[in-house]
């Protein structure tokens, strides 16, 4: 059989640009009938964007999509669904206060002709049948709110099936479910595959990909790298394909004299998030925290800073025990946190560059701690804008109009004005293009050179290897390995991130 005729879907030279970032640059992608096709890449590689183009959520700037050999253009998610493409999102999109049946048939309820009255019994019956197909006995009458995450996942899959979709996209479907449920899900995927459906499977978990997929496509920095048969691949190949760039060019790691301990965390625990964490950060040192999503990295640093409260454990700053109950305490004790999600947690997008830069340290620019000293405030903002090379028309520009990289520089400026001893960075370069990334790395190096300690969370291995003096690996809330610069090894770190203790894994 000619393989090409087997392609149910072809995406050719797809390009998608967002302000300041090329998210997809001439990406091509093909999927065959009856295959499970893995899609891999680091965060920000363009996987989600590519799938959102396919699901009709984004419109591509250029490029073609051929569905069963025919050129198509999806105007909306509904359009894509009706043509047989269903996407199961990583964050579930269900109406929590409606029943399973109502959710599955949302927007296409069958009605008594001419009345608008919903045929509820029929819908329930149809729902039960679909659920049986995937061997699930969830009651169609139950409210979504009462279901477990895994059950919700099953409902999403049932919904995809109910559209008679030929192509089903699954974005990290196992990120929130238990092993037993994973096995059920994999069984369902095998059956779907046997019935001739195509599954696009996005995951960071190597073992799952090797177990499930027939082929794997790798993207990197918005570019198509390669598509290979899974049977021909090793884990090492995959990592190589995902990472693939020359580290020394981008990362301006400098040898900096390591000084005294600035931050010491002892036996820090928080229920269901992390346990018995011990770590130290010295002046001039960059300590990386690696781990998968949901490993408890963000929760840990937020507890050190005061955005959450640890249950037990001790935090010492410059040798002195401190009590940190809220962000204000954190700031007062010389800790700063640059959060992962700039737009949600880091910035007031409606306010000016200046207002955002000075907010955490506003008291320093006041008379009597209350009345704003405009002159001092402007001077401080201007100094940081220049120092951090924030590209903005003026200090009064609304932050929401700047590019991601410049927004991140504004966040960094805000925190550097508090003159922190320890700067915590949570995914500092997420969603930022390569050029701005490299600039931010230079700033991080410079900050370390000033004698401050830095903790950096990142999901991008090259970034950690390029910047850090030490890396701690977190798995399900526990430290499974600590690596000094001489010991850095992708496979070892990856193994610890998947739950092996350091030195335990044999690859």
């Amino acid at each position: 059989m000619d393989l090409a005729t087997d392609d149910v879907l072809q995406m050719k030279n797809v390009r998608k640009e967002f302000p300041g970032v090329v998210a997809l640059d001439n990406v091509s992608f093909e999927v065959r009938r009856g295959e499970v096709h893995g899609l891999m890449g680091e965060n920000g590689a363009g996987k989600s964007t590519l799938m959102k183009v396919l699901a009709g959520i984004y419109q591509p700037d250029s490029g073609d999509i051929l569905l069963r050999g025919e050129k198509v253009r999806f105007q909306s998610p509904r359009d894509s669904l009706q043509k047989g493409i269903a996407m199961i999102h990583q964050e579930l999109n269900s109406v929590l206060d409606m029943t399973v049946a109502e959710n599955i048939f949302l927007g296409r309820e069958l009605t008594v002709p001419g009345t608008g009255i919903v045929k509820r019994r029929l819908l329930k019956e149809m729902t039960r049948e679909i659920l049986q197909q995937i061997r699930s006995d969830i009651d169609p009458n139950r409210k979504l709110r009462s279901l477990s995450v895994a059950e919700m996942q099953m409902v999403e899959i049932a919904k995809a099936l109910s559209y008679q979709s030929d192509i089903i996209i699954m974005d990290e479907p196992t990120s929130a479910i238990t092993d037993r449920e994973v096995n059920i899900l994999f069984g369902v995927i095998e059956e779907l595959k046997a019935s001739g459906k195509a599954i696009i499977y996005i995951s960071h978990k190597m073992d799952e990909l090797f177990r499930l997929t027939d082929r794997i496509t790798v993207l990197r920095d918005g570019q198509y790298i390669a598509t290979r048969d899974t049977s021909e691949l090793t884990q090492r190949d995959l990592i190589q394909m995902m990472v693939g760039r020359d580290l020394t060019q981008i990362y301006p790691k400098e040898d900096i004299e390591i000084r005294d301990v600035l931050l010491e965390v002892k036996n820090l625990s928080r229920h269901n998030e992390f346990r018995n964490i011990n770590l130290q950060v010295r002046g001039g040192e960059i300590v990386g925290i690696a781990g998968l999503m949901g490993a408890g990295r963000t929760e840990l640093v937020e507890s050190i800073f005061g955005a959450r409260r640890a249950d037990t454990g001790e935090i010492r700053v410059k040798g002195k025990p401190v009590t940190i109950r809220n962000p204000k305490d954190g700031i007062r004790n010389g800790i700063a946190l640059v959060t992962e999600d700039r737009k949600l947690l880091g910035l007031n997008l409606k306010a000016s560059v200046k207002d955002n830069i000075v907010i955490a340290n506003l008291s320093a620019y006041t008379y009597l701690r209350q009345i704003i000293n405009f002159k001092a405030e402007k001077a401080a903002a201007d100094e940081k804008i220049e120092q951090m090379n924030v590209k903005t028309p003026s200090r009064n520009t609304i932050v929401g109009t700047l590019s991601g990289g410049n927004q991140q520089k504004v966040v960094l400026s805000n925190w550097m004005l508090t003159n922190p001893d320890v700067l915590i960075l949570d995914e500092p370069t997420r969603g930022i293009d390569i050029g701005a990334k490299s600039e931010i790395y230079k700033m991080i190096s410079r900050i370390a050179k000033e004698g401050r300690g830095i903790i950096m969370i990142s999901s991008e291995m090259p970034e950690l290897f390029g910047m850090c003096d030490r890396i701690l690996v977190l798995y399900q809330g526990e430290i499974t390995g600590e690596f000094s610069r001489a010991e850095f090894d992708q496979n070892q770190v990856m193994a610890c991130a998947s739950g092996f203790r350091k030195g335990e894994a044999v690859i």
Binding site: P327, K328, D355, I372
Partner: protein, 313 residues
Amino acid sequence: MSIRKQKLSSVFFKYGVFIGLVILCLVLTFITPNFLTAQNILNILRQVSIIGMLAVGMTFVIITGGIDLSVGSILALSAVVATSLAHPDTYPLIVPIVVGLLVGLGCGVINGVVVSRWKVAPFIVTLGMMTAARGLTMVYTNGRPVINLSDKYNFIGGGYVLDIPLPIIIFVGIALIGVFLLNFTKFGRHVYSIGGNESAARLSGVNVGWVQTGVFALSGLFAGLAGIVLSSRVMAGSPVLGQGYELDAIASVVIGGTSLMGGVGKIGGTVIGVLIIGVMNNGLDLMNVSSYYQQIIKGIIIILAVLLDKKKS
């Protein structure tokens, strides 16, 4: 479009509401001979001063992303309590004033604490306060107005200083205090930051609960002051004073360009919003348009103003 034209249109959008006010005044000057007289202008200003005081406090609340439905009732409660202490030859004038202000402040603090401490939506909390404070007013007065007030008390709302009615001077003072607090203090900056992004504000060390309590306290305090001025102006502490005023105050704030989503807004805009409503009511009165039609026109203007604002951004 030429650059000049672009500039012109951006100026129009930036000062849209202000230009609207100017146009409204010009039109009224031409069609009603009595509009542009010193007497009538002072009349308008005196009429709007009560809603104006409420609207200044309301601006703070709305910029944080909240809403205060209770100001009309707080006004009434403060008014009846203050007037009950303002009979001739009883207490010195300072007593009804201070107690009236404290009543307003107290109600506002309760609003703020319930919103910030127990995380109840401002709409619900202030809806409850609106109902409860009105009920309290009725209980306190047995449903009858408090009358027989001292001349000194009646001077607050009815007196003149340098030929200007005192309520106007008080309103201007409140507006200036509002501008100062909002634009010249740390508190004001925190008000904007909470409305813009509450999580980011908290992570930047802003004491969100304190600021939230502060804006409701301010709104309550100004409502208390408005109650004193209004009861003095009508020379009676009627328990039905201020009914529906919260809606006029909110309308003024919104017409003035403050976003109900929070994070954006100015006292200056609110003052213009207050004036637009006042001038419009006055003009329609002068043209003998019935108050029924006035309501329809007011409703349309509120929606137009918000549309204009949307276009700006």
